[in-house]
Amino acid sequence: MRVAPAAAGLFAMLALLACDLPRDPERTLERVRERGIRAGLADAPPWAMRRAGAPAGVEVELLEELARRLGTRVVWHPGGLEAHLAALHHRELDVVAGGLTSDTPWKKRVGLTRPYYSEELRFGAAPGTPPPTSLAGVRVAVRAGSAEAHLVRARDAVPWRVQSPRGHPLVAAAAWELAAWGHRPFGEPLHRREHVLAVAPGENGWLLRVEEALAGREERVRRRLGELAKP
């Protein structure tokens, strides 16, 4: 049969090529080494933000670390998320930090990394407050203007929209926030947000480098989130 030699040949070819694949159609990986990483920065605390004018946040730190590994630097472009993603689609930016999650509707037009952090939204009880046995009709504090109220309502609880849920007896917030505030999580998670970075579409060599930089960072991200949540 012709199959066996063909397969063997294919394997040999793969092994030979494996060393430096995948390559970028637009040579992004080579170019970021020359001109720096062109990064869009959209306000999304604590993932990406500006503190005293300087870029800050979890994603900013991850990208600065990547730049150090590649022996280059990050050129930050502050702006709106939508404009950044449009620029990314046309490869005018190399990466965007803006608190994106894996179910962004932009996923068809830009490249997404795998989740570097999985954020759980949970109910929390303040110290000294016993978790209720049933959530039906219970008032739960949520951050006003967030999507959390909807999730709380879906569990038959009554959302109480406040400026900051911190210090309220019963709250719904991200697990890392609950930990920072000293609230005890209870019940099933309400929702899960898989946080990702967006990269220029089709630049697969570049994407692989970003992925390598993100791999195994979950624990560190969790710790940094805790530090950022404390005032």
């Binding site: 995948p22 990394t113 060599g205 692989l208």
Partner: protein
């Protein structure tokens, strides 16, 4: 209404049929595992999506074969006096139309991707604690999808011509051509790896053309079958020699001056009419005609029922 007699395959053919059914069950198992493996590794490659759709569609002919086998063997009834042998043709028509439609959709998809200059993004995956490019996994899955259909296709092709089963034949030739899909898919993935963004859409285009071709060929074939085309060889466009053999056999009868037959394929069996010009009808004509009918059935295992009539004259042979 007079119901047709039940048809039973000769013993040796029945054994072959059971072997074909077993092969189709094995095909189903293999192809389902391929659909799962390729589906899990799919990612955002257009070529891989096309390959996956083809794998998925290649489940249909075995299912059609196995489902239709159940119906086919039912004896003819008052309601269906010709039996259930068309079941296979009907299920295969559905499969062929599905191939046609999906082939066309995928082709349009790839052309749009090409025209828009869409750069496929293929990320990373962790294997044994190391971050590797997802493309390797995708190519591996496609490699897995190449071998089983080729092996199965060869074995089914052999059975198909011995059983004269067109569903099986179409299924087998689709399987045999499946390696093209896998190789094109792997080419697309490697192309992405080499930084040729267009390679993926081109590979997808090749695969969808292959699906489309399968669809066109099979729709034509099955429509011709359902249109009662003359009996043909299973793998070619030639008229099947059985019609001539049947005519010559009938003409060996001493009381027959000339004979002509009209046959059609009904599933894998043949039914039709024989027209005889006789010299001296004699007193026992009904018995003679019955014997002629028996003679006709003995010519080939596929001949099931030939209605014999006497005509005053036949047009001269063409």
């Amino acid at each position: 209404m007079r119901v047709q007699g039940p048809y039973r395959l000769p013993e040796d053919k029945e054994r072959l049929r059971r072997r074909a059914a077993r092969l189709e069950w094995i095909s189903l198992g293999w192809m389902a595992s391929i659909v799962v493996v390729v589906g899990l590794a799919m990612g955002s490659s257009q070529a891989m999506k096309a390959a996956w759709v083809e794998d998925l569609l290649s489940l249909v002919p075995p299912v059609a074969f196995l489902v239709a086998s159940r119906f086919e063997s039912r004896p003819p009834s008052e309601r269906f006096p010709y039996g259930y042998r068309r079941a296979k043709g009907i299920s295969f028509l559905i499969a062929a139309v599905a191939l046609l439609v999906f082939g066309a959709l995928l082709l349009a998809d790839s052309l749009v991707a090409l025209a828009r200059g869409e750069h496929p993004t293929v990320g990373a995956i962790d294997v044994a604690g190391r971050t590797i490019w997802m493309g390797w996994l995708m190519a591996g899955a496609l490699l897995y999808s190449v071998v089983p259909p080729m092996v199965l296709g060869r074995r089914k092709l052999l059975l198909a011509s011995r059983l004269h089963d067109k569903t099986l034949h179409a299924d087998a030739s689709m399987n045999k051509a499946d390696w093209l899909t896998g190789v094109a898919g792997i080419g697309g993935i490697l192309g992405i790896g080499l930084g040729w963004w267009w390679a993926d859409a081109v590979a997808a285009g090749i695969i969808s053309l292959d699906i489309l071709r399968d669809g066109v060929v099979n729709v034509r074939r099955v429509v011709e079958d359902l249109m009662d085309r003359r009996p043909q060889t299973v793998d070619g466009d030639e008229p099947h020699p059985v019609a001539t053999r049947l005519r010559l056999e009938l003409e060996t009868l001493p009381w027959v001056r000339r004979a002509e037959v009209r046959l059609r394929e009904d599933g894998q069996v043949l039914i039709g009419e024989a027209f005889l010009v006789v010299g001296d009808p004699g007193a026992d004509l009904p018995a003679r005609l019955a014997r002629a009918g028996e003679l006709a059935r003995g010519v080939d295992w596929r001949v099931h029922e030939v209605v014999v009539t006497v005509v005053p004259d036949l047009p001269p042979p063409a």
